[in-house]
């Protein structure tokens, strides 16, 4: 049992598990942080970007100035952005039988794997995962294809040259394997290989292994997987959320109070303000108690809409592979939502615009739901909200049709029938408008100040590039980062110097380390396997020993291109015994509570299912025919005789011999036992504690008689 680790990115995993006779790929994440090394792709000609100076070596050699540009001390590759693929050389990917996808973020490398490695297997994913994954891929392809770039830089990738480059380019890994984005045709072909599955569905792989997706509580249709045979179980946890147990009411309360303070009429004095605040706070606490576990205003993390995580099914695992933990372990997602709203309101009130770089699905549903409840009370009803993405419309529509994958509260809405997400109402009332791109209708409707949700969060391509160029120079505007996948400082680097405000409110609802240790305590796997990043504190907070996985035995860690031997051996298979055979078994009690029965049977194996049937009866002797050929008499050495156990009491044995007509029995003692002599028959029987040896002339009759007498004293196994 082995685990091949093809990706080093802890939240965008790609591992291959060899289990029994199957080869299973777990997720197919695409590391897009590589694009941060590239210049942004502007939608409209940007004089600033095209006039950036070329980069030259310290000695003034400028042979790379066409490929590399410098901006505020950082060097960027001026080329079509490229992605860092999972390792393709570590294992022959054409031997992969199935790919299990846990959520839509973890399938972005799928076309590279299914289209270019000779892969012939099946991909399993839930319907929301596939549909939203398709949207993410479609957006990505669209972003990159609609701004064709003539130049494709490759010189800098040369190993000897890369050494000379400044960091982070110098330290970028495996640049030679970086690839450009796939095409829509490849996406469609890859997605056609997916088979849709439902939570708790038991999927048989060749009858040998059973895989089951479980709700992971992180996103629409997100799943963890169980890979098990009858006696071994591997759990694969990737991107899970437990947020229902999060202490969120208080943070939200404080936040609301804070907001109320801003709203208070300025005529009141300090003390009266304080009284009002205290009153509001108390009121809020009571309110929280009344609504109990239900969510409060301003705190609507993703897990509030997807089905809760299924933890119980992860119990009794031999190995638990743990990936996709929160990337921001120190931030509280609920607090971040509050901060997001207040910063948004503040900017807009001051006449500025707000830019929210985001993916077209996921956290944006939370933010919209949050704003739905917030905008009226915050006096933002007249501010237009724009959602710009080639898949904006599809994303908003799709979110409404996956009722079965939603939490109970949202599910019941559909029974009324009403759309489960309130953004339907935001669209109806024209508060939220969506456009495929900044071109076309949007330019006619565009009003400022406004709030724009658009991609891509890396700020390297997509409509967001345009808004960065447009709004970057004014300090009235704010860009709020909510997606945790990219370092916001690195994302902003090619736009420096920047006057606009930057707020970092990463919302990552995936498990944090406290939740992980709680989870591990509850499901108690025998071994934990995780990316090496989780076995030590984050480099920036090396003193925080609480920001790592703590379990016993210590977690086994992996890094990119490593192969781990998983620490368990397979011992048993399940065999079905046919009732006829079971009937014929004769159990004997060896010890209290333990019985034994010897079984001689025929093993039928079909589709990796084993059935024991009664052995065939010996064929009746064919009478009347001539002598059979000699070779047919040769016994088959595969017919097994049972093992023997016990010991032979000499005195009783001798008595038995005499009873059976052996008159001249003589017994001699030896060091280890006895020798029984039958003089007349020239036969000698050595009897020791654990062995009996009959030495005789070639008299088969005699030998068989003696054999049967000996066997009477022994137990058969």
């Amino acid at each position: 049992m082995k685990l091949y680790c093809l990706s080093g990115h802890p939240t965008l995993p790609c591992n291959v598990l060899k289990f029994k006779s199957t080869t299973i790929m777990l997720d197919c994440g695409l590391d897009m942080t590589s694009t941060l090394n590239f210049l942004p792709l502007p939608l409209v000609q940007s004089p600033r970007l095209s006039n950036l100076p070329g980069w030259s070596l310290k000695d003034g050699n400028a042979f790379l100035d066409k490929e590399l540009k410098e901006c505020s001390g950082h060097v960027f590759v001026d080329s079509v952005p490229e992605f860092c693929l999972p390792e393709t050389e570590l294992i022959d990917l054409s031997t992969v039988d199935v790919i299990l996808i846990s959520n839509y973020h973890c399938m972005m490398a799928l076309p590279y794997i299914t289209e270019h490695t000779g892969f012939t297997g099946t991909v399993y994913a839930t319907e929301p995962t596939v549909q939203i994954g398709r949207l993410l891929m479609e957006e990505l392809v669209n972003f990159i294809e609609r701004v064709p770039k003539a130049q494709s830089a490759s010189l800098w990738k040369n190993k000897d040259i890369q050494r000379l480059l400044p960091s982070p380019l110098k330290d970028a890994v495996e640049v030679s394997t970086w690839r450009r984005c796939y095409t829509m045709q490849e996406v469609n072909s890859a997605l056609s290989k997916i088979q849709l599955v439902g939570y708790s569905q038991k999927i048989e792989l060749f009858g040998a292994v059973q895989v089951t997706p479980l709700s992971s509580g992180y996103a629409l249709g997100s799943s963890n997987w169980i890979i098990q045979s009858h006696y071994e179980k591997v759990s694969y946890v990737s991107g899970s959320s437990l947020l229902t147990t999060h202490p969120q009411h208080l943070t939200a309360a404080v936040d609301t109070v804070h907001q109320s303070l801003v709203e208070l009429p300025s005529g009141l004095g300090f003390w009266s303000k304080l009284v009002v605040v205290v009153f509001l706070f108390l009121f809020y606490l009571i309110f929280c108690r009344i609504i109990g576990r239900k969510r409060c205003l301003l705190s609507l993390p993703s897990s509030s809409f997807s089905q809760p995580m299924d933890q119980a099914s992860l119990k009794n695992s031999d190995v638990l592979v743990l990936t996709g933990l929160t990337q921001i372990p120190t931030a509280n997602p609920d607090g971040m939502v509050g901060e997001f709203c207040s910063n948004l309101a503040l900017t807009v009130r001051n006449g500025g615009n707000v830019l929210v770089p985001c993916y077209p699905s996921g956290v944006i549903y939370d933010l919209l739901e949050c704003l739905y409840q917030y905008i009226d009370s915050a006096g933002l009803s007249n501010i237009p909200f724009y959602f710009i993405s080639p898949v904006a419309n599809s994303s908003l529509e799709f979110s409404q049709i996956f009722a079965e994958w939603l939490c109970h509260n949202k599910q019941t809405k559909v029974y009324l029938p009403e759309p489960p997400f309130p953004h339907a109402e935001l669209i109806q009332t024209n508060k939220l408008r969506h456009y495929p791109s900044i071109h076309g209708d949007f330019s006619n409707d565009f009003r400022q100040p406004c709030v724009v949700f658009t991609g891509h969060p890396s700020l390297r391509f997509g409509d967001v590039v345009h808004f960065m160029e447009l709004w970057g120079k004014s300090s009235l505007n704010t860009v709020i980062f909510t997606e945790p996948d990219f370092s916001y400082l690195e994302a902003l680097a090619p736009y420096q110097p920047l006057a606009m405000k930057c707020i970092y409110c990463p919302i990552d609802t995936r498990l944090n380390f406290i939740q992980v240790s709680k989870l591990l305590k509850e499901v108690q796997p025998l071994h934990v396997v995780c990316p090496e990043q989780y076995t030590q504190p984050p480099p920036a907070q090396s003193h925080r020993m609480d920001l790592m996985i703590d379990c016993q035995p210590p977690a086994m860690s992996y890094r990119r291109a490593e192969v781990l031997a998983l620490p368990f051996k397979r011992l048993f298979e399940k065999i079905e015994i046919m009732p006829e055979l079971a009937d014929s078994l004769v159990p004997m009690e060896i010890k209290p509570g333990i019985s034994l029965a010897t079984v001689s049977a025929v093993l039928h194996t079909k589709d990796n299912k084993h059935v024991l049937q009664p052995p065939p009866r010996p064929a009746p002797p064919t009478s009347g025919k001539k002598r059979k050929r000699a070779s047919e008499d040769i016994p088959d050495c595969k017919v097994l005789k049972p093992l023997l156990s016990g010991s032979i009491p000499v005195e009783q044995f001798v008595q038995t011999l005499e009873k059976h007509g052996f008159s001249d029995v003589k017994v001699e003692d030896t060091a280890k036992g006895h020798i029984v002599l039958l003089q007349e028959a020239e036969t000698l029987i050595q009897i020791e504690e654990d062995s009996t040896h009959i030495i005789c002339d070639n008299d088969e009759m005699l030998r068989v008689r003696l054999r049967d007498l000996v066997l009477k004293f022994l137990q058969k196994f």
Binding site: G198, I594, L640, L643, S645, S691, H693, I695, R707, F717
Partner: protein, 564 residues
């Protein structure tokens, strides 16, 4: 052998009142809980007293499964759970759970408010009954208890229709409910994997029909509607609010747009809009094409089809009206039918199966004079057309499903006895038992039984685990051979002889002069008295008993004369 007992409480050789009791591996499951449209007395519900004489249903039944929202499959549910009394789980899919209570309420209203029946289930009972429902996803394996598991497959009959696999240990039953093997305008085709159940219980409504292509039927339908409207007639299409109605609406909507017709199309109940909304929210249950295009254009938003008002029925000029219920047994469709039946210009199109006893069934079987309530006789002059749009599998489809699932045996229900007989023969002809493929192997081992765990291990392992020592039983036989040559040469002759006889065994000549056959050792020694005789010592353990015994008798016969 596994014993599975099936008792149809309804829809055994009949359509309507579907209710089948299955006992499998000690578990009792009730499949569907329908009502019969053709009866207004006790016979309309299944006889639940059969299930258990005395004692509560909840104690006897492990679960109830509802395949889809049609009343002949779920109409008796509130009566069963609230009036007879059942508190266990009821499983159905999400769309069924959403739509089922609405249809039940509709049915209740017709029965109580219009017909004035007493002792019928109430609205509150429908609500209480629905609280016992557990919704299942497609393909989700639901563990009802430790042993019983169920799994839903897409059935394509109506929105949310499902087939169910019921499994206990290694025994399983698949119940199809109603299903459709050809995708239509809004639903996909039923699908099941090769789950090889012990028993497949399949509906057989269209057991003898092989329906012509869908396109032809649609063209036919449109032609008939078009002709009637052209000559100024009115078309009545009795339907159920959900299901066929949506498909025909899509069909007419696109036709009206293409041919640019002006005659109004109405849909009779207030349910429509709500129904269409359900279709929109459960769009993942519709077919590929609708799912793909729903973002651009939602097929369930109709431009040409408007809500019907009772007064419209008397309007002059052509019109098309969809009215509920589908079998003309009550409600608005029957009212409109009465108004329009006298005019030969008009037409009624029955797009689905009609249960015996309903007006729909009567006119379809050619009756033209109907006795209505109050001894009134209604003469039917309007044209009566039957178009099989019911989304049931036809004979070909049923065979297809049997081929997909590969069951050990098939049980036909939900159809007519004669037709079933025909299909039974066809299935028996086409599917024969397949022989198992691989060569079996003989195996010997020891079964250790400890508490409730059973382990089959090798005998050595069993001895080891129990802390017992093996007792070795060995035999050594002396075989005398006449051979005056040296021992080594005798051994060599024995070797070449055995090698030629025992072709399938491993025969070796070891450097020390001895010969082995598998693990049997043969040594040649000089005879102490007779130099012309050699003694062969053949030694084997009890495990090689057969071979050892064979070898001694073989060697006793002597060696073939070697060419010198």
């Amino acid at each position: 052998m596994p014993e599975i007992r099936v008792t149809p409480l309804g829809a055994g050789q009949d359509v309507g009142r579907s209710c089948i009791l299955v006992s499998i591996g000690g578990k009792n499951v009730m499949l569907d809980c329908g009502m019969h449209m053709g009866f207004n007395d006790d016979r309309r519900f299944p006889d639940f007293s059969y299930i258990t004489r005395n004692g509560r249903l909840t104690d006897f039944l492990d679960c109830v499964i509802i395949s889809h929202f049609h009343l002949d499959h779920c109409g008796a549910l509130p009566y069963f759970s609230e009036m007879v009394g059942y508190d266990g789980p009821i499983y159905m899919t999400h769309p069924t759970q959403a739509i089922c209570p609405i249809l039940l309420e509709d049915y209740r209203k017709i029965a109580v408010d219009k017909k004035g029946e007493a002792n019928f289930f109430t609205s509150q009972m429908i609500k209480d009954c629905m609280k016992k429902v557990v919704a299942v996803h497609l393909h989700q394996t639901v563990q009802v208890d430790d042993e019983l598991e169920i799994k839903a497959y897409y059935a394509g009959h109506v929105l949310g229709a499902a087939m169910f696999q019921i499994k206990v240990g290694s025994e399983s039953v698949v119940y199809t409910g109603d299903y459709n093997m050809t995708p239509d305008r809004h639903l996909g085709a039923a699908w099941i994997d090769k789950c090889r159940p012990n028993l497949l219980i399949t509906e057989s409504t269209y057991a003898t029909t092989i329906r012509d292509s869908k396109r032809c039927r649609e063209r036919d339908f449109l032609k008939k509607v078009h002709e009637t409207v052209e000559r100024g007639g009115k078309v009545l299409i009795p339907v159920f609010a959900l299901g066929r109605a949506q498909e025909l609406c899509i069909l007419l909507e696109t036709f009206w747009e293409r041919v640019n017709l002006k005659a109004p199309i109405y849909f009779s109940t207030g349910l429509t809009e709500k129904a269409n909304h359900y279709y929109k929210l459960f769009i993942t249950w519709t077919n590929q094409k609708i799912r793909k295009t729903f973002v651009q254009r939602n097929m369930f938003e109709f431009k040409h089809i408007k809500a019907f008002d009772r007064a419209f029925a008397d309007n002059p000029g052509p019109m098309v009206v969809f009215a509920t219920p589908g079998m003309l047994h009550a409600g608005q469709s029957l009212q409109i039918f009465r108004k329009w039946a006298g005019n030969e210009k008009n037409m009624v199109i029955m797009p689905g199966y009609c249960v015996q006893g309903t007006v729909g069934h009567k006119i379809l079987s050619g009756q033209r004079k109907l006795e209505m309530e109050g001894r009134q006789v209604l003469e039917v002059k309007m044209q009566v057309e039957y178009m099989s749009f019911s989304a049931h599998a036809d004979a070909k489809g049923i065979m297809q499903l049997v081929g997909q699932a590969e069951p050990e045996s098939v049980l036909l229900v939900h159809g007519e006895a004669k037709k079933m007989e025909f299909l039974k023969q066809k299935i028996e002809q086409e599917f024969r038992l397949l022989p198992s493929a691989k060569k079996p192997r003989l195996l010997h081992g020891t079964l250790i039984m400890k508490d409730s765990s059973f382990q089959l291990v090798s005998s050595e392992q069993a001895l080891k685990e129990l802390g017992l020592a093996e007792h070795q039983l060995r035999f050594t036989c002396r075989v005398h051979l006449h051979d005056s040559r040296k021992e080594q040469e005798t051994a060599a002759r024995v070797y070449s002889h055995l090698k030629s006889v025992l072709k399938d065994h491993c025969v070796q000549h070891l450097p020390d002069g001895s010969v082995t056959v598998e693990s049997i050792l043969i040594q040649a020694a000089a005879h102490s008295e007779d130099p012309g005789t050699k003694v062969l010592l053949v030694s084997w353990t009890y495990q090689d008993e057969e071979l050892g015994s064979y070898l001694t008798s073989l060697l006793k016969k002597g060696l073939p004369q070697a060419p010198s």
